[in-house]
């Protein structure tokens, strides 16, 4: 019996045995200290208290993103919260003041709480106010209104909108500098804007710490316990599994489907235990435990080849099922499904999969035509293939990081790994130049309808939106390929928990355009022959913006007089592309 399993099961919401994964409940658990991960913001606040450089902090963010955990971290490192001790709604020390949650304070007291927070540094205290965004905006409004009105000023509707826009902008860009409004100075942090992807692996590592699993080694069920099996599998291939998990969360993050820390913990712990308890494992005979409850299956919300009931309540499971990552065909498909060659796995999994194939062999051997058309059999085979792919995505043996990247690119998109490298560490010019090549080629195709071949100048054509056919297009300017520079810019926010974080931009003259993962995927699709961006409207306006920027930076100034005007047009003919230039002079048109 291992009590830690119960703790893990309590962190997700599938089934009724959840004891609650709210930080204030968790903080009382004796396992909390074992799995918690310290964050830079917590350290920063602690330093402020200790050094006497008092500041006011206001913290917002998604539920489950670790706001309360930061408070706990500060209190623990100040030695003011004992193990298993709970939090108060608000508490004031000599040098520190906190409010655990603004919405737990009565509505009429919220403004007071906010005022106490922002004025705490004047009173020699560091303060931390945790709040939801809605009540915070309201309280701020009331606070500023009160201040203005007591000094005899008006607080107009315009002022209100401006205040809101100011706070929203800070919450959106999440600068680490303090904000000054009407004489109040405070640091407003939106933890939902802090990159939390690296936490997944740190938490996984903590969960797998050997001392937490000691009871399992002496358990009588050890030889048939799926949980222990999962523990061993992942420990044996920790880096490989961690890479998949991190890449998956990274992919979601970059596609604006960010997971909160609580959601990550929920998915990982569910994948480990399948919400089985020690009692259950002890008292029942589980069929094929190492396959049905394998980490690879549970992580995708499957029991064996079937979807597990209710597992999609876990956000990460829901998203991975929607993405259908286990249905994307892989380079290795032929050897996995036709040759049943499992040598890409370590022996333990090989054994498991070989046994599986033997059990289901009949499905793989289609002997007559009738069977070929049997939809049910076909479905079943597809489901099995899905399972094998899940194993492959999580456990295939990879000799190098490049091999792992190759696997990831197959499911997350051709340039995914390159993109990830570009945002996480400084890359060589070669990588940057590759990305530049992709952007150039895609834009060329988009602007002219042709492949660039060896051309090095991108014509900026005037096109209509949508699929209206234009075989003659006017050229408003040209950009040299070398002017489309892809650059990395380091993010300098000191509250970021990642050491190296970069943003990727396309530099256009003195402006820059942010390159996101969906945008790059779209560029790759264009190169591969996709026609329109209509399937993803998010991209259409991004691309419209890029077009506008390109024109602004590289478009020729509109001619001031007729004599200045040289008209360049691109003509798409059956033979290929032709360029013609016209000039106007004296009511005549000259061809050049």
């Amino acid at each position: 019996m291992n009590d830690f399993i119960n703790y893990l099961n309590s962190t997700n919401n599938v089934g009724g045995n959840s004891t609650g994964s709210l930080a204030e409940t968790q903080v009382k658990s004796s396992y909390y200290d074992a799995v918690k991960v310290d964050r830079k913001l917590g350290i920063y606040i602690t330093d402020c208290v200790k050094s006497g450089n008092h500041k006011a902090f206001i913290l917002t963010g998604h539920a489950g993103d670790g706001k309360t955990s930061i408070l706990v971290q500060v209190l623990k490192s100040l030695g003011r919260l004992q193990e298993c001790e709970g939090l108060c709604v608000q508490k004031e020390y000599d040098d520190f003041l906190y409010y655990k949650d603004m919405s737990e304070i009565a509505a009429e007291k919220q403004v007071e709480a906010l005022k106490a927070t922002v004025t705490a540094p004047e009173r020699g205290m560091t303060s931390l106010l945790i709040s939801n965004t809605g009540p915070l905006l309201k309280a701020f409004e009331a606070l500023i209104r009160e201040k203005k009105e007591t000094s005899g000023q008006q607080f107009s509707d315009g002022d209100r909108m401006e205040l809101q826009s100011k706070l929203l902008t800070q919450l959106d860009i999440n600068e680490d500098q303090s904000l000054k409004i009407e004489g109040y100075e405070f640091v407003l942090v939106n933890i939902a804007r802090v990159d939390n992807v690296p936490f997944a692996v740190r938490i996984l590592k903590k969960i797998l710490a050997p001392q937490l699993w000691v009871p399992c080694t002496i358990c009588s069920c050890a030889d048939h316990c799926p949980i222990k099996n999962n523990y061993e599998l992942i420990t044996a291939q920790f880096d490989r599994v961690a890479q998949f998990i991190e890449n998956y969360y990274r992919f979601l993050y970059e596609n604006d489907k960010r997971m909160t820390i609580r959601q990550m913990v929920g998915q990982i712990s569910y994948a480990l235990t399948g919400n089985l308890t020690c009692d259950y494992i002890e008292s029942r005979h589980l069929k094929e435990p190492f396959f049905i409850y394998n980490f690879a299956n549970l992580f995708f919300g499957y029991n064996g080849s079937k979807r597990a009931k209710d597992a999609a309540q876990i956000k990460g499971v829901e998203q991975i099922q929607n993405l259908e990552l286990d249905r994307i065909s892989l380079d290795i498909d032929y050897s996995l499904f036709v040759r049943n060659d499992y040598s890409c796995f370590m022996p333990k999994i090989q054994k498991e999969l070989t046994a599986l194939t033997q059990r289901y062999r009949k499905h793989y051997q289609i002997t007559d035509e009738e069977q070929l058309l049997d939809e049910k059999k076909h479905e079943e085979e597809l489901r099995l293939r899905g399972a094998v792919r899940r194993f492959y995505l999580l456990f295939s043996l990879c000799e190098s990081d490049d091999d792992v990247d190759h696997v990831m690119n197959q499911i997350f998109g051709k340039s995914y790994a390159d993109y990830r490298k570009l945002i996480s560490s400084k890359q060589s010019n070669l990588t940057l130049r590759n990305m530049q090549g992709i952007v150039f080629e895609a834009l060329y195709i988009k602007n002219t309808g042709y492949l660039p071949e060896s051309k090095t100048n991108l014509p900026l054509t005037l096109r209509r939106e949508g699929d209206v056919f234009q075989n003659v297009m006017i050229v408003l300017g040209e950009v040299g390929k070398s002017d489309l520079k892809v650059i990395q810019e380091r993010s300098t926010n000191q509250f970021e928990d990642v050491d190296n974080k970069f943003d990727l931009y396309l530099k256009l003259g003195d402006k820059k355009f942010k390159l996101s993962l969906p945008m790059i995927t779209y560029f790759n699709n264009l190169i591969d022959g996709a026609i329109s961006s209509n399937n993803n409207p998010a991209l259409t306006h991004g691309i419209a913006q890029l077009d506008a920027l390109l024109l602004e930076q590289f478009g020729e100034e509109p001619p001031e007089t007729e004599e200045d005007c040289e008209l360049t047009v691109i003509i798409n003919t059956a033979k290929g592309q032709e360029i013609e230039r016209f000039a106007f002079e004296n009511k005549k048109l000259s061809i050049q």
Binding site: A192, Q545, K588
Partner: protein, 507 residues
């Protein structure tokens, strides 16, 4: 009812629908033609005078001459440039409308232009003419099979913003091409309103009335509209090259008479939207997007604003004529919202129908005595709420395109207009605020708050359970996110942003 301009309506002068909803909107006008017709009035020379032969009290080329004619009483003189239109569209239009005289005129025109091209051999010259034609037809506004004189080019430059001149077959067939005969370019009927049905005039009158009430918007709106249509002077040069050389060759061009047009009327009840229309237009035009993107979105926006002001005209104290929106976002199907939206849509049409009957009673003495009530109502219904259906489908605010279950929804294109017109460039507001503004501006009911507000007015049915509206609101958030206008900020707070830069201030 008072009209704008405040003229006395003669008996049988206008049908019922024109008195109630402005003169006039009809089904054959496409969305770009609303925009083009509106711009045509805006850029035309305007003359103050009551009768065509009187000396004008003023002449101006201002878009909205509120200091001279805030009452909307003037005539306007659009530029005709029929030679240019013939050059662009004749070779690629349906055979039916091609009279011999025009074929000849076209041939002559091409010959003249070829002679005005320097450099290159004969083939190259010929090709260049085709290139210019193809370049301009690429911007054709209507993809329908029409006669050449009924076609239009998107407003890529002022020179192509032209009125509709109908080439009446019996007139054209009698003519023969002769450079000295002014009838070659003159014998077109500019008062037929077949495709340019005056919907653009209705919008122009609304704007003029609005600016007369709020003159502070005049400068910026005139400036931005002008910028939008003059961003590509290249096209102007090209069009002038064609029309200029044609006029030089076709000597009778100087004798071709100008055309004077008068605006119709709109009900003064449209003034309820005056300030909203202007602030929406200001925000929208101030957002720095590509001129094309701007035109295409504006064409949708104009229809939306027209529809809303007409719905509003029919509204009463306890029938706000609000639009219950079924967001209809893939992956967020919401049967209850769909049901409510369908019911509300039916109710909207009942409200308008009631308005028609009230109007019939009130204005019976102005209408044709020979026509029976039923025929009048039938006509009025065809040109009002039945037409709104068509307009709504055209811009994607009414779904489905065919079949039953019609209801209000929001397409991606309209969402773009809404974001850009409600939120000033580069600013952001919370999703709740945005939805509230949509309610204030367009009477759109999306979330529980708006629905509850409508219950107190009495225009929607009280339902016990509002959860479907919450789901509807969530779906709207998702749709905005898919369009790239919304970001989740943190718990339960999302921001809607107008991501476009502000247009530079006046040059």
């Amino acid at each position: 009812m008072k009209m704008y301009p405040d003229v006395k309506i003669g008996k049988k002068e206008y049908p019922l629908q024109s008195i109630l909803f402005g003169h006039r909107i009809q089904p054959s006008q496409t969305k770009y033609e609303y925009l083009i017709e509106f711009l045509q009035v805006a850029i035309a020379e305007k003359r103050g005078a009551n009768k065509p032969l009187e000396a004008p009290t003023f002449t101006t080329t201002e878009m909205f001459p509120i200091s001279q004619a805030a009452d909307g009483q003037f005539r306007y003189l659009p530029k005709l440039r029929i030679g240019l239109k013939r050059f662009i569209f004749l070779p690629k239009s349906k055979l039916d409308g091609k009279a011999e005289v025009d074929k000849d005129a076209y041939k002559e025109c091409v010959k003249v232009l070829e002679s005005q091209i320097t450099g290159g051999n004969a083939t190259k010259k010929k090709n260049s003419i085709t290139i210019i034609q193809n370049l301009l037809t690429g911007f054709s506004a209507v993809n329908q099979s029409r006669s050449w004189f009924d076609q239009n080019v998107l407003p890529i430059c002022p020179e192509v913003i032209l009125p509709e001149g109908m080439g009446i077959k019996s007139w054209r067939q009698k003519l023969q091409f002769n450079v000295n005969d002014p009838e070659v370019d003159e014998k077109f009927d500019y008062h037929k309103y077949t495709y340019m049905c005056r919907g653009g005039e209705v919008y122009y009158l609304h704007l003029l009335n609005a600016i007369a009430e709020h003159p502070e918007y005049k400068t910026v709106i005139e400036l931005r509209l002008n910028e939008m249509i003059t961003s590509f002077p290249q096209f102007s040069y090209l069009c002038n090259f064609v029309q200029g050389n044609w006029e030089e060759y076709y000597v009778a061009s100087k004798e071709v008479k100008t055309v004077e047009k008068r605006l119709g009327i709109i009900p003064t009840s449209f003034a309820k939207r005056n300030e909203q229309t202007l602030s929406e237009l200001q925000n929208f035009l101030n957002s720095k997007s590509h001129p094309f993107e701007k035109m295409e979105t504006l064409a949708n926006g104009i229809i939306l604003q027209i529809m809303r002001m007409m719905y509003l005209a029919a509204a009463t104290d306890n029938e706000s004529n609000c639009w219950v929106i079924d967001v209809n976002c893939a992956g967020h199907e919401n049967i209850e919202a769909k049901k409510r939206a369908i019911a509300a849509f039916k109710h909207n049409e009942e409200v308008i129908s009631t308005y028609l009957y009230h109007g019939l009673e009130e204005y019976r003495d102005l209408l044709d005595d020979k026509k029976d009530d039923q025929a009048i109502i039938k006509d009025a219904a065809n040109d009002s709420y039945r037409l709104f259906r068509k307009l709504g489908k055209m811009i994607g605010v009414i779904i489905p395109n065919t079949g039953k279950g019609m209801r209000f929804s929001l397409s991606e294109d309209i969402i773009k207009f809404l974001v850009l017109s409600i939120i000033p460039p580069k600013q952001m507001i919370t999703l709740d605020e945005f939805v509230h503004q949509l309610y204030i501006h367009f009477g759109m009911v999306i979330g529980p708050e708006q629905y509850k507000a409508e219950i107190t007015i009495g225009s929607v049915a009280d339902v016990g359970d509002y959860s479907f509206l919450k789901a509807n609101l969530d779906a709207f958030g998702q749709k905005l996110k898919d369009c790239g206008f919304l970001r989740d900020l943190s718990d339960a707070t999302a921001i809607v942003e107008n991501p476009y830069e502000k247009e530079d201030s006046a040059k």
